[in-house]
Amino acid sequence: MARLTPISSSTPKPDVYVPHKLVIEPPSRWTSLELRELWQHRDLLFFLTWRDLSVRYKQTILGPIWAVMNPVASMLIFSLFLGGLVGVASDGVPYPLFSFAALVPWVLFTNTLNRTAVSLVGSAGLITKVYFPRLIIPLSNVLSSLVDFGLSFAVLVILMLAYGYLPTLNILLLPFFVLLCVMIGLGVGLILAAMNVRFRDVGLFMPFFLQAWLYATPVVYSSSLVQGDLLRTIYNLNPMVSVVEGFRWSLLGVGNSPGTTLLLPIALAIVALVCGVFYFKQTERIFTDVV
């Protein structure tokens, strides 16, 4: 063990190992984030992510292709019915590309949110037996969702090239939209994960919740359809609108370039994340007694 190795001769200090003290006390209302501890467990974060990924695609024929199947299949269905039959306007972009550019971040969002929401209850077997910073579990969900996202993003790039769309400098802002997307997914997911500990209704409520959110986000249609100041103001309270629009803007160059309109979604994402983390931290302490 590194901490127990004798101090090298260049150090005049006596060779005394002083272990760090840990005090366990009743939970207080405001808990610290224990970031230092999170950092100490970074290897666990890596292994959990990798376990997530390898377990999900073990004993499947298609393997990691499944990560891409979800957005691709949705894109095909939407293109056939909404793009083809209904003829939904797509801001001059071919409908498959138009919807796929939105589905890729949307799937990242729903994966993060879904996996985070079940993380505490789903890992009950672990949490009641071993101690490690519980935030590691949702964080590993974020990482595994990002890996899936990487795969479908590669498909998106191929689709763009196939339709003759070359990326512009706008793409430099894309990582920011990915971050925003993950923050929202993680924040809301953490709140749901904590609620899920007491009320298992959360799991049953999720499909409706996400379906409603999908239609409140311009994934299958263009946000230009939303007219009227009041409606538009309410619409913009959904931070995922900015994420999806941001993706289309930075990759396909459609829509207005984002500016101060981004302040609201950023603020909302930060609020969601902060609330999520604190609610989660509070619930994790009582978790073993409730579950």
């Binding site: 272990p19 939970p27 037996k129």
Partner: protein, 438 residues
Amino acid sequence: MVDTAILVEGLGKQYRIGAAPAQSRSMKDAALDLVRAPLRRVRSLRRTEDTPNIWALRDVSFEIKAGEVIGLIGRNGAGKSTLLKILSRITPPTTGRVTLSGRVGSLLEVGTGFHPELTGRENIFLNGAMLGMRRYEITRKFDEIVDFSGVEKFIDTPVKRYSSGMYVRLAFAVAAHLEPEILIVDEVLAVGDAAFQKKCLGKMSEVTQNGRTVIFVSHSMAAITSLCRRVIIMEKGGVFLDTDIQTGVRVYLQKLFEGDQAGFLAPGEKRFGNGAVLFTDFWMEDTDGNTLPVARSGEDVVLAFAYQTADGAPLRGKLSAGFSLVDDHDRTLFIVYNDYTNQLFEDVSGRGVLRCRINRFPLIPANYRVTGVLNVDGEEADRPEKGLGMMLVTEGDFYGTGRTGSNAAPFMVMGDWSVSAAENAASTLHNALKETTP
């Protein structure tokens, strides 16, 4: 100066027990409940003050020095598990505080965090990381872990295809090779076959010799005795006694079995014999004369029989005393008379105690009935029909190795083994005999 490794001050843990909701009595009630239930649930989850609470742990304080090996014993529900859960940070305390100096590794349940779909190799890394090991530490220890577990052939097979024995071996190997300053072990030795249990015990004592602090929970007094020098007895959520291992185990066993000695010699019980001298009491002692509630396999034990002559006057003639131990299948396991060893008693006092010492008590743990007989000058004087009392025998360290051996046969015999090549005289003779036999 020895540092404190674990300091527990006024620790308490309260659990809320929700009252069970009333059952629906009819279809109508059930239908109404459908509507009411969510409301009631929300209310019951919110209202926390008037639900009944229990203290699983209350006002627990102790101090453990670095390098100490502590046995934690107590009946089920005494609060051991709750205490371990708090020490391993799985659940927070309600009151009090714990100060830990050093990294804590706990083995509350072997195999926690193993994923069935992953291979043994993958699980070693995952499990190690979960127990707080860094990746390079696991890599460094990898071969040792695999070697200890003895599953090297299947290391790249998903653990769902492992036998339960292999699974447990691998899991213990990972945890045992973690190098925490404080190790908390809960009853892991109850798993695996005898050979692996021995390996585990060996690994545990190796860990303790390296100056690590260990809290060891077990119901096996043999394992506790061979590993620990101090025990904490828990009872009803508190520390009942914090003492040295000998006293602790004795007191614990005494508490565990107290009240089992029914009145075998009570007036009215049927007795055979002429009554010239009678048994008046039976008990067990250790070699220092302290009364023992329970004997332990492998320990020296003294059986004491109090007697009294019918008139209280000194006995005239030869007194011969004998007793036997009977198991719960009514098999008499052995009979001991003082005559056998030529220890003859003649003209003894009117009241006294006969003592018989048995060295390295050789029977397996069980509840034995002691029957006895007193003869005077070859004539039966007293033989209580039911016997003299019960003799409780619990696990001890008969072989001096911490191993308990098999419980399939009633006796334990010390074996002294050796192995030699076939060319020695004895086997040559044996072979020669075989050749001459038609």
